[in-house]
Symmetry: D2
Subunit: 372 residues, 4 copies
């Protein structure tokens, strides 16, 4: 993780501002020979895209991705495959409304990174949040689509929204199929109406609300992750915390583990037909920073978006004390669109961990018990 | 963060196993001319050292640090100063009891990283947990002592235990002076007795318990942190999650922010005598991955240590199903000794962020409002 | 230096193939507030551009660079300045002749990297050399233009061709002004005609020839470079050797130093009005990997381009033994166009070294003698 | 390559000054399960060790290496194997003569890095050159011994001295067996006496002389190296140029390639029994930054050591103009002891390239011709 690049062997560099000409990413270090098409990547971008519901920003961006390099026709299949060289992807900014920014150009909006960027750089593209805009996450999703292909079909990465504002789902009703049935990525059908009412009230009030997303990856073999400082969960924590508006990350039992006893927390092991099995997963699939073969499970907390109608006290670049009140389109709950981003970041971290494990040990599969 | 190294300009590489000859670290990229003595580093190591109370491991390690390189006498002061070259520090392992490890050599202890290391590497130093031992954190504390010197006296990094098992402190009673008055790093004098009873019960039962540590850094100027993927909070998240037994990290309001409205969460700003001031700190001192000048605040959740007397089901390297029960010395609550480690990691992240900000912009102080 | 990225704080990532849609680079870590325009970058690209003389490829590429991100209007000057966020630059490939590649699609051209790419990746974009094409160097030149702005006017980076085939210049006749007066970047007016005749003979024979380029940077303060493994000359060596067709790099006296005695080689020092001065520069401005304040001087040897009319023995992907003979446009001497690339790489290395020195020490100027 | 660390997956960090307590290195990312003993590493250190002949420094250092971490007993063999965790190695400085340094403490010796370190850091360990001492290379040799084990027996790395002062060997008489028969690592028995006389004259005069070392690695499979900026030859160039006193690096035909025609330079290919064969090796085993399966060949030029008896003009930290004349032990030709260092650096670069190739592609062997 360094400035605008993350990953070690599977490396992603993103660029672009909200209202610039375009945004994009360069994925470097991708294994060669992997079939990939723009359409496959577009599928994931479409999941992230605003414009789909009444609770998300009305900015109309097709978010059409173009692959500019790093793929070539495979003579055996006539399809495109990765060549091992950098994959450059670009998404044009189409709906950059050329509105008048004079009211916010010099203001520091409370809860936004306006002041922080000013303090750091002294100059900033204030249009639509510039580089701090959540629009940057489109590039992550494009990279994540490549990462999924690297991981292959054996690894499935999927996420769901588990809390909106104060309303948490009932985990006993968790149904992955339900996630597709509502616009909230909600796995609990009994919670959908509550969220809808909550969000409607928030929207009408010109307010906003936070959320928690849970993500899991199944099919991750034991042995991935690079202790001590490249621990799989440390990489996941950094990847998630780098997402706009994220304020917390936890793995497995997470913060709840603090209240547990050692007896409650320990995941016991038995031998299954295909190797070790665990009788619980408080670890969230990671022990000592290394995957255990269980599902890798993480949760990410998002703060409410800072764009609200209620006037708030602030200052501007001149030091004048002002009031700031958001006008125009915005998302009342950034969490509603963040699930594909959270999934993408986990996929990228896992693809990188897979390549690193293969680099160091020559294997992606664990040393088998009984033969080690 | 890469394998056993973290940091970009202020880089720390650690090495060593629990029961090997020694452990240590190399701190690279440290600015030159900083006065430093072994005694100053020892102060922090002594805070982390086991043996001090009845609720921590009885392993007797003096943890005496030696500086092997990177410092030299300064003719102007006759004291030692850093030279800008790598600072190698070593701590001998003195109390490596040469006990018989045959009972655990091939066992996978539930909740430990035994199986994960086996699956990854196929071979592991099982004595005392080897590389996965919390003993590795002594090297972090030594590095953190250097980082504090780099940050200078203007930045203060300090932590406290805010929850042990199910017992959270009352934040309204927070008193930093109280932290030194009890063996638990507890800032709430009203909670000390409760924790003592809880820990005594845990100890008698041969059980263990989790904990939450809060850490803050005051005096951090606005402008540190390297968006997008080197965000200050992303670096903090990775640093904290890399600590043994950590399962969650949050910044500012953290997971609680998910339940807040935008109005509640936004930290309003006014002009103070010395520049911008914020009227609250839900952000935890970080917006858009960049410090805001407010205290940087993070919390880390630790799971209960996995070493418990109650027999638990597991398997061994041969695939045989076994029962595992911890014998010998262990910590019932890893959180009791982790505060100096959490502080050290935050200090290292901040020192690195300071040098990176200075590298990119030539400043460590923010662009001043009113002149930018 | 890692796959398609180089630099530590001033980081350049390039992407693109010779006959893809476009090529480009992302410059990350650039200091904020630096005025920059596309026109300023274009100046350097135009120097590298083919099509200018009869001894270079007749491919017609305007090489028009577009800045897609990382700059914004500065309200004080109304001009564009860097914002500290990633600067993405793109150059469209316009003249991708859609010729028939069936004759070379599976062939390994001797001296090209065709076989090496095949052996590594199993798949490759063979059109125009794909990623191994010297066309990639356009992205380096664009990055180098930014690096020059970071270095400021005090540092001047300039190069010249000092040998073409067997014909080396007479250094006693070196005249920097002469470099602009001939199409060969030749600083020795007495050598221009010899080179012209040599190149004409080479061109008529469908052959090619090697070359040596010398580059210097004046105005580099003492103290830049990060020993031991980030030595300034080590970084320069890597940067130069990464250029297509480079086979050797030397600094200062270089290979000739092997034949010198210690007395001949030692650069003596005296005190000048503005600080230390050296009476010679066998060191090439670098001692112990750190700049000395003297001009940084390096030379790079380029092999003859491998595209020649004479049929050469080779094999193809099927293992069939074939003869390969280059058809179509090509450069008889890659060195003729490499000077702007060599300059750009040196500028990038120096900009990175400057930021790193500033990061570690807070200074870009040396500790002054007499006060240190 | 970053400050005191090099390598990407096989990473080496070195530390220590010439006259400090010790020096050492940490090798991180080493594959697990590789048998290794201190004795095996010592073999290579003994080759580098001074004290063996009358033309090298008389400093008496046993250079006994100790492995402090990262190895453990393998139950199957009862021998030590790497565990995949950091291998820390330390070499005590035994013969740190506690002489009086007052004469050089503030002097800048011509040709040394004294002034450069002062200008950069303002403070330096002047005893024996401190961090700039060639003694640091002992740590490289220890790391290189590990790298050789990673590469396995199929890859052989070996070097020879090919020029001392103005006296170059006759390559037609090259005999690798001869290298062991003389104290100069000379592969040409006809040159040994000339060098001996030259060095004797140099020694008597209190002078010094430069040298050129050639190194080759055989058995390197095609496909290693990470274009564009992690090219195998770019990594080799950086690694070699990072060695003390190195002033130039070339691969294959190197600087001589500049004078060749395309016809002379192109290495033609045919099919051999075991795959592609080249009919010459002007490329030095690297095309496009990727290994070709031919021997990897590089040469490194070393300047004469700067420690000479003849007084030279210089200045000191106060700015006073002085004369400097070396007293005490020194090497008249640093090249005489650098061959094991050059070999070690090549071994480390290749081990890293092997792991990176395996990480990205899952293979260390090339895609076979005829099946790709």
């Amino acid at each position: 993780m360094s400035h605008n690049t993350f990953g070690h062997l599977f490396r992603v560099t993103t660029w672009g501002e909200s209202h610039g000409l375009a945004l994009g990413c360069v994925v470097d270090g991708c294994p060669p020979g992997i079939p990939i098409t723009e359409a496959e990547i577009q599928v994931w971008l479409d999941k992230r895209r605003p414009g789909g519901g009444k609770f998300v920003s009305r900015r109309q961006e097709p978010d059409a991705v173009r692959i500019l390099s790093g793929v070539f026709e495979d003579e055996r299949t006539d399809g495109l495959v990765t060549t091992g060289t950098p994959i450059s992807m670009m998404i044009d900014n189409v709906d950059q409304r050329s509105r008048d920014y004079s009211d916010i150009a010099r203001a520091f909006r409370p809860g936004h990174a306006d002041y922080a960027y000013f303090a750091k750089y002294g100059v900033r593209d204030y249009r639509g949040g510039g580089r701090q805009s959540a629009r940057e996450t489109a590039a992550r999703v494009a990279a994540g689509a490549i990462a999924r292909k690297v991981l292959g079909e054996g690894v499935m990465v999927r996420g769901a929204l588990v809390q909106v504002g104060p309303h948490a789902i009932d985990r006993s009703r968790w149904d992955w199929d339900e996630v597709r049935n509502n616009p909230f990525w909600c796995p609990d059908s009994g919670m959908v109406e509550t969220w809808e009412q909550h969000l409607e009230a928030i929207r009408k009030a010109g307010s906003s609300t936070g959320a928690i997303i849970e993500v899991e990856a199944t099919g991750v073999p034991a042995g991935w992750g690079a202790p001590i400082y490249g621990k799989l969960d440390a990489e996941i924590a950094a990847a998630m915390m780098s997402i706009n508006a994220a304020k917390g990350v936890e793995v497995g039992a997470g913060f709840a583990a603090a209240a547990l006893s050692g007896e409650e927390n320990a995941d016991e092991m038995r031998m299954g037909n295909d190797g070790p099995v665990f009788l619980s997963n408080n670890a969230g699939g990671v022990l000592g920073g290394i995957s255990t073969g269980q599902p890798v499970v993480a949760r990410v907390a998002f703060k409410p978006t800072s764009s609200i109608l209620t006037p708030k006290q602030s200052i501007d670049e001149s030091g004048a004390e002002i009031e700031v009140r958001t006008k125009g389109r915005h998302d009342p709950c950034v969490g509603l669109r963040a699930t594909p981003v959270v999934e993408a970041m986990l996929a990228c971290v896992l693809a990188d961990a897979m390549l690193r494990q293969r680099g160091q040990t020559g294997r992606t599969e664990p040393v088998p018990v009984g033969q080690g």
